[in-house]
């Protein structure tokens, strides 16, 4: 738990929230970032030219309402050059830049070495690694420097997976599988957020991408693919009973137990996750308690009802959930 919180603190308290298009953590986002700076400079020049021309017109000669109208030269040549010829050249260049950049940001599945399936749901991200049987939610782990094929779809309405520091966004559309490639240059935690309005809690549907050294990633993957550790003592046993006796199992899955619901996020290794409620709050004992008792207070309109629990039951349940590493 301590390691998780440290990681979380690193990611969350760093400059910005780790969700900036101007912070380059991959070749793809780097390409887009370069395009942005080129276009910004170009736009600044155009704005300066237009402002200069405006100033020229406004400041040079002023008339009064009674002044006689002059029949001036039509100005067609100026308009043709400034309005057609020059913009055409600029736009052709811009188009060339576009065509050049497109392959860098588009998924080239042949080059990828790993697949992860991400399913957008109202309002969380269901993440699984089909080759290994690992499943989690609201976190994607990837090995550093390895291109990963992220296969994106939705179970209900249109969402959009957007992790700006790694690549462009890609819509999660029910009945359709889209692809985006994540290839992180450096280890780190990168925040992403749903970017297509998807209903009441669209605002609280975020996730973290954790890029880690290959060995760490493999270890994480193996652990995540394994079933939940069985309760190691009576208290944890009791906690598991509380879980299985409440409504939790109808929506949540904990591999290795009878809880196999698929409505809500997979909880098999809940304790390894940095956040709750799709990155709405940090994962910690107090927050977890608050979430279980009254999720509507934290994320009003989300699909999880509150669960009334007595003090001792709650404490044992929390102990059990904290043991799911």
């Amino acid at each position: 738990m301590g390691a998780t919180l440290t990681l979380a603190a690193f990611g969350l308290a760093g400059c910005g929230g780790g969700q900036s298009t101007l912070v380059v953590r991959s070749d793809a986002s780097g390409r887009i970032d370069s395009l942005w700076w080129v276009m910004l400079v170009g736009s600044a020049i155009v704005v300066a030219v237009v402002l200069a021309l405006l100033a020229l017109g406004l400041l040079r000669r002023r008339g009064t309402p009674a002044e006689e109208r002059k029949q001036r030269r039509p100005g067609t040549t100026f308009v043709a050059i400034a309005g057609v010829a020059i913009p055409s050249v600029v736009l052709v260049a811009l188009f060339a830049l576009t065509v050049d950049a497109l392959p860098k940001t588009s998924p080239n599945i042949d080059k990828t070495k790993l697949s992860v399936d991400v399913v957008g749901r109202q309002w969380f991200w269901d993440v699984s690694y089909p080759a290994d049987g690992a499943r989690t939610a609201n976190e994607i782990h990837i090995p550093v420097g390895v291109p990963v094929d992220v296969r994106v779809t939705s179970k209900d309405v249109i969402h959009s997976l957007w992790v700006p520091e790694l690549n462009r966004k890609v819509d999660a559309i029910p009945g359709r599988t889209n692809h985006v490639v994540f290839d992180a240059r450096t280890a780190g935690i990168y925040r992403g957020q749903c970017a297509e309005f998807c209903g009441l809690q669209h605002a609280h549907m975020a996730l973290y991408v954790v890029a880690e050294p290959r060995a760490d990633f493999e270890r994480w993957l193996r652990r995540t693919a394994a079933p939940a550790p069985p309760p190691a003592n009576a208290d944890l046993e009791r906690g598991q009973q509380v879980l299985l006796g409440s409504a939790c199992e109808y929506c949540h899955r904990i591999a290795g137990t009878n809880a196999s619901g698929t409505v809500g996020p997979d909880l098999t290794h809940l304790a390894t996750r940095m956040t709750l409620g799709a990155a709405t709050i940090l994962n910690g004992r107090g927050n977890l308690a608050g979430w279980i008792l009254d999720p509507q207070h934290i994320k009003p309109g989300n699909k999880m009802p509150g669960t009334a629990l007595t003090g001792p039951d709650l404490q044992s349940l929390l102990d059990y959930l904290e043991s799911l590493r």
């Binding site: 309402p65 057609v84 188009f95 462009r168 890609v170 605002a203």
Partner: protein, 627 residues
């Protein structure tokens, strides 16, 4: 001469105020109604925005529930686009087009009245949803399948409301096209029509071909929601993207439906305040029509993130870049006119200058969106919110404010306060930029759009606070404009017929114009007819001789489509209650549909047929029987 004018006055004398209120077909009155009703919707949408901005001023805001916020942002977009900006520009069109082409009314005066009543009815229909807390809450483009599966009537107010409103928009477009082609003053060939009329023409053609796409989409949506049809889900052979394609085939031309009349206003003001004819008139007219046409070929750029083939996206990227060219032509034509002229800086012109600055910035960020990978990074973020507010507020609202100040003296006969006008301009200009410029940065820093709140460690806090403060400054500026208008209507000094020395024909008659617009139909020989003093004196002489006075009833002329040679005299309808009756009948039908009441709906159909029959029945036949 006096006898002729007296005959006109008698022919056009209006019945009592009550009848006029419900039965007038005078395009000027209808135009003013569009303008004032649209303004009310503008204020409502603005209030919606201010509540949202208050919620977003700080992270983790608790002022609004997500339900409330989602209804507000949806209604803000729907109201601004469908109930404010297009009807407002329609109001200018209604008021000005007959005057600018030298006619006495539109080609279909009763359909004109009908269009207004349906706009009012559809607007009230949509807003009734807010009163019962069931406003549309899925954004102004309402993607499926969230829309098709949504419980409750919220989305039905959207689907049925927009079909209802589309009747008004389409009727208006048909009216403008026929009017501009057939009712122009003799001599006003196509290359002499005011650029504002070119804009209205291009807009109206766009409406004719674009609105059916929205109608089709809403029809499919309502069939899905109410009668169990399936269009938008893969499981039953449908496709969520079908909604998007049909929507944006309407939606992108719609932005030109908004933009073109607005820049038509700019093209009206720039020559007058630059004291010279418009530079490159022909290129500007061509660019206007080209924009309307090309606007149909770019819609996929709203869908670059959905996973379409690269080839498809590349074509639409090229088209989206190409469409920047006609806009560039217009911008440089205005700049050439200003530089080549002797600019007079008054409030209307200030708003035009504001428009140029803001629209150029918005247009440039728009070109950035044509670069597919960049679009895929920043679409659906606050960067695109910044972009479209720059092009919509810059490209349409600034010109509307300019037009309000420019034509207020003509419509009311009174001049506004120039000092208040200047103050309002600066408040609006500063407030607008303070509100929306930071949104570019917020988007680049990863803030998605349509979020009712945001966390506090993202670097977005200060930017949002600045936007909210800017919003209040902008609101203050708008309040000053409203106050200025209201004050001047009551207490403004008389403006005279032609306070700006305008170049188009509305300035050749009194302020406000008489019901018959002109005592004699003008004859035109250039694109700046009010600057042709000899021609206007010739009009006065023809009035003396009674030539083209046409005082036997409500009459105007119809002329050839291209060269405007005189063809025949048209007798136009006078006040009629049937446009209102038909609009009310349609309202009954749509209420029946949203309430899922077959009885009410069929009653509505019956009333519609009865109203149509009464409308076309020759109650007082004017024409002779031919057989």
């Amino acid at each position: 001469m006096a006898a002729n004018v007296e005959r006109l006055e008698r022919a056009w004398a209006e019945p009592g105020a009550l009848i006029t209120a419900f039965a007038t077909v005078d395009h000027k009155k209808i135009g003013v109604r569009y303008l004032t009703t649209a303004t009310v919707f503008f204020v409502l949408a603005g209030l919606e925005a201010m509540v949202m901005r208050t919620q977003l001023a700080e992270p983790n805001g608790r002022l609004l529930s997500p339900e409330a916020y989602n209804q507000l942002f949806s209604m803000h977009g729907i109201t601004m686009i469908f109930l404010f900006v297009t009807p407002m520009l329609s109001g200018f069109g209604n008021y000005l087009v007959p005057l600018q082409i030298g006619a006495r009314d539109m080609a279909f005066p009763r359909m004109n009245a009908f269009g207004y009543w349906v706009f009012l009815a559809a607007g009230l229909f949509i807003y009734s949803s807010l009163l019962i807390g069931k406003a549309p809450d899925n954004g102004w483009f309402n993607y499926a399948p969230l829309s098709s599966n949504a419980q409750g009537t919220n989305i039905d107010f959207y689907g049925l409301g927009l079909i209802f409103l589309g009747i008004s928009t389409t009727a208006g477009a048909v009216n403008f096209i026929v009017t501009i082609f057939r009712l122009r003053a003799p001599g006003m060939s196509l290359n002499r029509i005011p650029l504002f009329c070119w804009a209205v023409l291009a807009t109206s053609f766009s409406i004719v071909f674009a609105v059916p796409s929205l109608t089709a989409d809403c029809l499919l949506l309502e069939l899905s929601r109410k009668w169990g049809f399936h269009f938008f889900e893969k499981a039953t052979g449908g496709d969520p993207l079908l909604w998007q394609h049909l929507f944006w085939i309407f939606g992108h031309p719609d932005v030109y439906i908004i933009f073109l009349p607005a820049v038509g206003i700019v093209s009206s003001i720039v020559p007058v305040f630059s004291r010279r004819p418009m530079a490159a008139y022909h290129l500007v007219a061509l660019a206007t029509m080209a924009t309307g046409f090309l606007g149909f070929g770019v819609w996929v750029h709203h869908m670059f993130a959905v996973g379409l083939p690269q080839v498809t996206m590349t074509f639409f990227a090229a088209a989206s870049m190409a469409i920047a060219i006609p806009s560039g032509i217009q911008i440089f034509a205005w700049l050439a006119t200003i530089i080549g002229g002797r600019p007079v800086i008054r409030t209307p012109f200030l708003f035009v200058v504001g428009f140029i600055v803001v629209f150029v910035i918005g247009g440039l960020s728009g070109v950035m969106f044509a670069v597919i990978p960049f679009d895929q990074q920043v679409t659906d973020s606050y960067f695109v919110v910044a972009h479209f507010h720059y092009v919509l507020f810059g490209g349409a609202v600034f010109p509307i404010f300019a037009g309000v100040h420019y034509w207020l003296p003509k419509i009311t006969g009174r001049m506004f306060s120039e000092r208040a006008g200047v103050a309002s301009f600066w408040l609006v200009f500063v407030g607008f930029n303070l509100t929306f410029f930071p949104m570019h940065i917020a988007g680049l820093l990863g803030m998605p759009r349509r979020v009712y709140t945001y966390p506090d460690h993202m670097g977005w806090d200060v930017l949002n606070l600045l936007s909210t403060i800017g919003g209040f400054v902008l609101a203050a500026g708008i309040l000053v404009i409203l106050a200025n208008v209201l004050w001047s209507v009551r207490w403004g000094p008389p403006a005279g017929d032609d306070p700006w020395d305008g170049n188009t024909l509305e300035w050749a008659t009194t302020s406000p114009p008489p019901p018959y617009n002109f005592p004699v139909i003008p004859v035109v020989r250039s694109a700046d007819p009010n600057w042709d003093r000899e021609d206007r004196s010739a009009d006065a002489r023809r009035l003396e001789h009674g030539e083209l006075v046409l005082a036997d009833g409500h009459e105007t002329v119809s002329t050839g489509e291209v060269d405007a040679e005189l063809e025949r005299v048209l007798r136009m309808p006078t006040d009629s209650p049937w446009p209102l009756a038909l609009a009310l009948s349609l309202t009954v039908l749509f209420v029946g549909l949203i309430a899922s009441s077959n009885l009410i709906a069929w009653v509505g159909v019956g009333l519609v047929l009865a109203s149509l029959a009464a409308w076309h029945y020759p109650w007082t036949p004017h024409e002779e029987e031919l057989a």
